[in-house]
Amino acid sequence: MRASTLLSEILAVLAKELTAELRSRVALNAIGLFGLTTLIAVAYQIGPYQIQEQDRPHLLSALLWIILFFAATSGLSRVFVKEEDAHTAKTLRLAARPLAVLGGKYLFNLLLLLALYALIVPLYCALMGYAVRGVGGLLLVLVAGAVALAATTTIVAAIIARASGSTTLFAILSVPLVLPLLVMLIQGTRAAAASSELAVVLPALQGVVSLGGAVMIVSVYLFPVVWHD
C-alpha cells in the first residue's frame, strides 16, 4: 500500500528537477541566453522610437510574446528528452506514477517560464519604452499565459521525447497548439497596456484559460499512453 499521495510524488519529481537544474543550469542558461539575446537584438534595431505611435500597442505586445515564446521553447522542450538521453527515463517509468511525472515536469516548466518572465518583461518594458497602464491586467495575462504555455510545451515535449527527441518536431507539433494561445495572449497584453481596467483583459483571459485547461485535461489522459507505450 502506498503511503504517499500523488501530490507528494509530484513534489518529489519537482524537487529532483529543480535540484538537477540548479546544478547543471542547462535549461536556465538556454532560455536566459536566448531571451536576452533576442531582447537586446530587438531593442537595438527597433528601440522605443522606431515604431509609429499608432502601431506601438500592436507591435510591442506581439514582439514581447515572440521573444518570450521562442526563449521558452529553447529550454522547455528538453524536459523529457534529457531523461531519454541520460537513460533515466526507464528508471523513472518503473518507479513513479505517470501523473506524478507529468505534474512534476509541468510545475518545473511553469517555474522556468515564470523565471523567464521575471527576467525579460521588466527589461523589455524599460528598453522598448513599453508603458503599460494596466499592470494588474498584464500580470494576469502573463500568469495565465505561463500556466497554459507550460501545459502545452510539457505534453509536446513528452511526445517528441518518445520520437527520438527531435527539437524540430517540437516546433512542428507546438505550432497548432501554441498559435491560438499566442494570438490571445498578444490581444490580452495589448488590452492591458491600453487600459487600467481589468475587464479589458477578460475576453483574452477566458480564451487562454479555456485552451490551457483543455490541454491539461487531454494531457492527463494522453500522457500515461505516451509515457508507457
Binding site: 500500500m1 502506498r2 503511503a3 504517499s4 507528494s8 510524488e9 518529489a12 519529481v13 524537487a15 529532483k16 535540484t19 538537477a20 546544478r23 547543471s24 541520460a86 537513460h87 533515466t88 526507464k90 528508471t91 523513472l92 517509468r93 518503473l94 518507479a95 513513479a96 506524478a100 500515461p224 508507457h228 507505450d229
Partner: protein, 208 residues
Amino acid sequence: MSGVSVEFQKVGKRFGNRTALAAVSGTLRPGQVLVVAGPNGAGKSTLLNILAGVLRPSRGEVVYRGSDGTVPRAHWFEHLGMAAPDMAVYEELTALENLRLFARLRGLNRSDADLAALLEELGLGSREHSRLVGTYSSGMKQRVKLAQAVLHAPAVLLLDEPSSNLDGAGHDAAAGLVARLRERAAIAVATNDPRELAWADARIDLAL
C-alpha cells in the same frame, strides 16, 4: 507463500522483420531465481523488458498474479524492481538523494540511516553517499542502480547483467542482496556470467 508470480506464455517480440525474441514461456515464482541465459542478441533483455511492462510483446501474454488475483498492467511497477544496463540513476544527484527520490516516488517512509545502510550493504561507504553520482566510476553507479531496484523490497526483481562493471567485492554484494531477497521475491536474472548462472533455481536458455 504470499507474493507475486509472473506467468508468461509464448511471449515473442519482433522489431520490423527481425525476430528479437522467439516464443518463450515460463513462470517467475516467489522464492525462486529464474536465470535467462543465451548469446548476445538472443533476446534476454527483451524478455526482461516485456516482463517489466516497458515493452509490449508482439505475441503471447504476461500475467502478474498476486494474492488478490491478477494485477492490472498499470500497477505492475508497484511490485517491481529492475536494474539493467539501459537504466541509469540521476548523475546530478548524490547517491543518497537518488534513493530519497525513489523512496518518495514509491511512497516509502525511509530514514536516511536506512538508505545509507542499503548503500553500505552494496559496498558504497558513507564518504561516497554525498558525492554526485556523475563523479562515480561505472561500478559505483551499478551499485546505486541495484540499490534503487531493491529499495522497496520488491515482490518481483528483474536484473539484467547485475554484475556488469562490478569487481569481485561488488559481485559478492550483489549476490548477498539476491540471497536476502530470494526468500520472498520472484527474481529473474539475465546473464551469461558463470557466477550468476549458479544462482538459478530454474533456467531458460535462449538461442539466436
